[in-house]
């Protein structure tokens, strides 16, 4: 049953992505000021939204793990962080690419982009921490702690970078008013959401299997210890 839903979601995601691409590249009108370059927003913005959603899921799972020591929460936290970093990296890269033809620079210190980049490094650190701790229980506890600390920082980073930039001329992105544009944006956002759900679900299954391999099963407790004397004839 879960299998069926999974494949259904994949199918829907592919379908929505395909149509979303057409909508973004063909159907939506070009932006008044920036022209066709603006179309990258339809991929950039949903990417960043998904990244934020993913790290929020990671935050929830981390709290859940600290309270209940539930391995599913830990596996889901790992999956959410990895997929979040993926979407974040895509989002930041697209943002950078958008800046190049618009203002001729590879990096604008736009508050949102800057905050996203900082968050990216933050969660890359989280993933590194997971890699560098062998014991599964400690890994789960410590990464939950790191995740909570990192997540609480997100709004603080956002405000501080905004204040930092507001003292200078800020090239803000133009507001999308055209209802057609809003529709395409929302369509693509949902498409990206479906893709993210598929990614997180798959990654979650992998993480869960990995946990099972790492942790001695309770069934092993019932087995008798192996005899210490070698079986007859074993030394021949």
């Amino acid at each position: 049953m879960a299998r069926r839903i999974y494949y259904l979601v994949i199918a829907m995601a592919v379908a929505m992505l395909a149509t979303g691409a057409w909508l973004a590249l063909v159907w939506a009108p070009p932006d008044r000021e920036m022209g066709d370059v603006q179309r990258i927003m339809y991929a950039h913005v949903p990417s960043v939204w998904m990244a934020l959603l993913a790290v929020t899921l990671n935050f929830g799972c981390s709290i859940a793990y600290l309270i209940r020591s539930n391995w599913k929460a830990d596996a889901l936290a790992e999956a959410a962080a990895e997929v979040g970093v993926l979407f974040g990296a895509v989002g930041v890269t697209l943002g950078s690419i958008w800046g190049r033809p618009t203002w001729g620079v590879w990096w604008t210190w736009d508050p949102r982009l800057t905050s996203a980049a900082i968050m990216l490094v933050s969660y890359a650190g989280y993933l590194a921490l997971r890699r560098f701790v062998e014991d599964p229980e400690r890994r789960a506890t410590w990464s939950s702690v790191a995740a909570i600390i990192a997540f609480v920082d997100i709004p603080i980073i956002w405000f501080s970078v905004k204040w930092w930039r507001s003292l200078h001329q800020v090239q803000s992105s133009p507001s999308t008013v055209d209802p057609k544009m809003t529709l395409v944006l929302r369509w693509n956002a949902i498409a990206f959401l479906l893709v993210m759900i598929v990614f997180i679900w798959s990654r979650y299954r992998i993480a869960l299997h990995q946990r099972e391999r790492e942790l001695a099963p309770p069934e092993a407790l019932a087995a008798e210890p192996q005899s210490r004397t070698p079986a007859a004839g074993a030394l021949r």
Partner: protein
């Protein structure tokens, strides 16, 4: 707050299991030790003796099973258990750059012992460390470090003493002194669990025995 059950056991382990990754270091260990009793803990290397002692000391939680120390539940009354239990471990718990006296004073102050300096001073001379008390522990031999660790345990005046290989790194004189200390602890009513490879010394000191093989209770 935990209340003592009618039979007052100092230590109770019920189906205690502890896993490290793929390995069960302890597998369904159960035993009971009455207050004032003495238990010899034996078993080959890697059989779980240290893990069991650390679990009883509440340094680590069991993965499953229950532990009660002096009638207290290890989850609800961890602080009370720790106040009454002292662990003599492979690790000395000492700060290398502080002197023996400073290490002990730290413990004394945290315990709230009145007139800490006198208490620490007399303990150090009793264990033959008075003359080196100002030198950083970093300069101590392993035998002397063991003696400082013992001083830490005695300073706490615990109701339960968990000794993990207390004879390690001691010369014959040190071993004799350690045996004397264990005997005195027992005489003062302290419950003692002694893990050691020196089975003869252990059996002379302890009335009961628990043998572990691969994390399980086994016949000796």
């Amino acid at each position: 707050m935990g209340r003592l059950p009618r039979e007052s056991y100092a230590l109770e382990a019920q189906d205690v299991s502890r896993r490290y990754g793929r390995r069960w270091a302890l597998a369904r260990v159960s035993f009971r030790l009455a207050a004032g009793g003495s238990l010899l803990l034996t078993g080959p290397n890697g059989s779980g003796k240290t893990t069991l002692l650390r679990t009883l000391a509440t340094a680590i939680p069991p993965t499953s099973g229950t532990v009660r120390v002096l009638g207290w539940d290890r989850v609800a009354n961890r602080a009370e258990i720790r106040r009454s239990v002292a662990l003599l471990s492979h690790s000395s718990f000492l700060y290398e750059d502080l002197s023996a006296e400073q290490n002990l004073l730290l413990l004394a102050r945290l315990l709230g012992i009145p007139s800490p300096k006198e208490a620490v001073g007399s303990l150090l001379s009793r264990l033959g460390l008075g003359h080196r008390s100002a030198h950083p522990v970093r300069q101590f031999s392993s035998g002397m470090r063991k003696r400082v660790s013992i001083a830490r345990l005695l300073l706490k005046a615990p109701k339960v003493a968990l000794l993990d290989e207390p004879f390690g790194a001691l010369d014959p004189g040190g071993i004799a002194q350690m045996e004397q200390i264990v005997t005195e602890l027992q005489r003062s009513g302290t419950t003692v669990v002694l893990a050691t490879h020196l089975v003869d010394q252990g059996q002379a000191l302890c009335k009961e025995r628990l043998h572990l093989v691969e994390g399980r209770v086994a016949a000796a």
